[in-house]
Symmetry: C2
Subunit: 143 residues, 2 copies
């Protein structure tokens, strides 16, 4: 029942981006230094965040990443699912819903617990927005 380092770093990186919200693109090198995370590892995480439309990127010099929505609108759950894929406590739940995963004729007795667990995990992760992780006021562009 563990989250990966990718998720942990992803959330921390997004928290940094939240602080610099609306201050233009922030390069990963900056985040890597601040959070003591390998730059190359961050480079591996951010394509997932971009695919999920949580961040936008600017290439080339003076490029970087920025949040595509306000930190109040991005939930921790969004980040977790973007980086790790959908929450599935047991493999059984990742299959097509209608299909019986267990080949026993009766419905899997334990399945209901794992479904409930999955839903509750998603709930609690969706309760917390990025802005709540950064108690200090965001830094806006000076101009």
């Amino acid at each position: 029942m563990k989250l990966s380092a990718k998720v942990e770093y992803g959330v921390r990186a997004m928290a940094v981006l939240a602080i610099y919200y609306q201050a233009g693109p922030l390069p990963l090198r900056e985040i890597a230094e601040q959070e003591k995370i390998s730059l190359k590892f961050l480079e591996q995480i951010f394509p997932d965040l971009k695919k999920a439309k949580l961040v936008e990127s600017a290439r080339g010099s003076r490029g970087g990443y920025m949040l595509s929505r306000s930190p109040a609108e991005i939930k921790v759950g969004d980040i977790v699912r973007a980086v790790e894929g959908p929450i599935t406590p047991v493999d059984c739940l990742s299959e097509i819903e209608t299909k019986a995963c267990c080949d026993r004729k009766d419905a899997c007795l334990t399945r209901q617990v794992w479904e409930k667990l999955r839903d509750r995990i998603n709930d609690v992760l969706d309760e917390v927005a990025l802005i709540e992780l950064v108690d200090i006021k965001p830094v806006y562009k000076s101009s």
Copy 2:
């Protein structure tokens, strides 16, 4: 965010034991056949359940395992924690509470989310008792 196969099998095995509650010791071979789980793998799981005092064992011929409490008193959370250890979504939470896990001076901003997550996972797993997984009535000893 996955549970191990050990946990999944552990819960299923305990559900079988719940059905045969108070019907004397049930050998693992029986559970293995019913649930299509490797006997040797089950033998690896049950010492954990015993250590957590969820089951009692009877050795030798006609031996086996039985629940040490009623299926209403055993929660899924008990089984999960017995087999997998305490729930820790990130390693940070497994350290001694008082010690600052991150070496940054300010408290880890994301920690609060993971604590909340951990607590909620424990909550939901402790809401479901073993008896709720076996909708059919338990089989009591005939005598």
